[in-house]
Amino acid sequence: MWELIRANKRNSIILMVLMAAVLLLLGYIIGTAFAGPKAGFTGVIIATAIWFLLSLVSFAGGDQILLSASNAVEVNHDDQPQLFNIVEEMKVAAGLPKMPRVYIIPDPAPNAFATGRSPQTASVAVTAGLLGRLNRDELQGVIAHEMSHILHRDILFVTLAGIMLGSIVLISQVFLRSMFYGGGRRRYSSGKNAQAAVLMLIIALLAAILAPIMAQLLYFALSRKREYLADAGAARLTRYPEGLANALEKIAKDPSPQLAAANKVTAPMFIVNPFKKGLQLSDLTSTHPPISERIRILRNMAGGVSFKDYSDAYRNVTHKKTVVPAAALTKEDIALRQASAEAKQEQLGKQMRQTGDIMRMVNGFVFLTCVCGLKLKVPPNYKGDKVACPRCHNTIALPIKQK
């Protein structure tokens, strides 16, 4: 596991250097094309400034922006004992120094994400739909996947790569648009200089069109790789790959509309691609591997849950080179465990009703049980301190609201 984390860090640094080189080169080429050879370094400086600005914004409050953009509500042990306990179990299994903060997103689409640049400042968020549909083992699998992202420092990587990608896209867009509307500045009117300028312009145009595409493909490929590795990490932490496989299967079959709060930037953070089919053209432009493939790999892990077992299953299913860094491929002898007791007896109807209740709870509804056994759900804007039971007409006093 630690070998993997180290390999991940190394890969992140290589990627950063590569993308930084692309960014600086792009700045140089565009600067030269705009205003002659002397302006090349001005272009580099402008590119660096844009990158710096974007970094500053996302480091100042990147995770908080994501959480508040998805209307996430923080919960504690008393609100959601099971969810909180499962997160704590995975925190213990991963040996994290601090308990991550736990959030619920009031949305019926089943999904989850983790944010925070270091294990000390991590948060885990799940949607109400996910909580309502999954049993304990499945929820554990999903949380373990998110915990692996935290443990592998994937969030830092996704943030850094996203900033770099954003800068490259931004600079290219600005250049292409100014070319389109302004037609460039024609300072050189004759001779060799004009030829050189035209050539430079063509190079710059090509670079501005190709660089963002290349950077994006690279980014997507690495994001998919991190998803596989987080699956492998989840299997290893829970000792039970079937839990995550079942969860993914349920999520894939789910008919609810796509998550309202997701967008292109935040998509790589989620456990499954928050965009439903139709938006993605092919595997190459997707931040996540196909769910069916992830499920098949997890179910192919016969006999063990180490990274080596995952890597073997991956090769069996995809017939591609393994995604697991060689350093992490030591054979570990860890056996699978069995399904927990309550996972075997599942009541779907009850769970579907829970989704609505969880969303109400998060939105400040008060739950009361009448003496006749009826459960009352009182909305937060209800005025008055008593409520009449619709079935037995008994009046029940509302608990005094905090706040």
Binding site: P81, E89, A93
Partner: protein, 184 residues
């Protein structure tokens, strides 16, 4: 003169290298110790939950005196354990008593519908999970630490400062380790 400088540089680099490895070994050993104390934290939580559990279920399960006694005895044994081996054994017995208790509960539908009991049941399930995850994490840390001590070049430094290998946490009884085979 040049030769002297080269020798000096090599010595400085070597010392820095040894310091680096020594510090990482200390860090790893602290992680192992921390992982061990995490197990204790979870075991303590298990002990704390048991009186609550008995209090909640006593009214429903009047005819199960034997089960209650088994748990109470196992708990006091576990809490009084002095050595690691003693504690491991007593905790094993307690864990078994608890899972037997949960099987008995299946015969009491009233109890299973009780909100307090459901909340306790979740806490107990989670605590049992946390105990096994804490042990799992401890074993992971020990494996990494032991590997470091045995592998070159850190084994040289480990030998110099006499770092010793740590023991894995073994689950009592072989039957607990093996996944039961299901036949159709």
């Amino acid at each position: 003169m040049v030769g002297l400088i080269i020798v000096g540089v090599v010595i400085v680099l070597l010392v820095l290298f040894i310091i680096g490895i020594y510090n990482s070994l200390i860090g790893l050993r602290n992680q192992v110790d921390n992982a061990w104390s995490q197990i204790d934290v979870q075991l303590k939580r298990r002990h704390d939950l048991i009186p609550n559990l008995i209090e909640t279920t006593k009214g429903y399960m009047q005819h199960e005196r034997g089960t209650f006694e088994a748990i109470t005895n196992a708990r006091s044994q576990a809490m009084g354990a002095k050595t690691v081996a003693e504690s491991a054994k007593a905790e094993g017995v307690l864990g078994e008593a608890l899972s037997k208790f949960m099987l008995v509960v299946e015969n009491y539908p009233d109890l299973k519908a009780n909100q307090n009991f459901l909340a306790l049941h979740e806490e107990l399930t989670s605590t049992e999970n946390k105990i096994s995850f804490a042990r799992q994490n401890y074993n992971d840390q020990v494996l990494f630490f032991n590997n470091k001590i045995q592998m070159f070049p850190s084994n040289v430094v480990a030998g110099m400062f006499s770092f010793s290998k740590r023991d894995f946490f073994q689950v009592e009884g072989a039957e607990e380790r093996q996944v039961p085979k299901v036949s159709f």
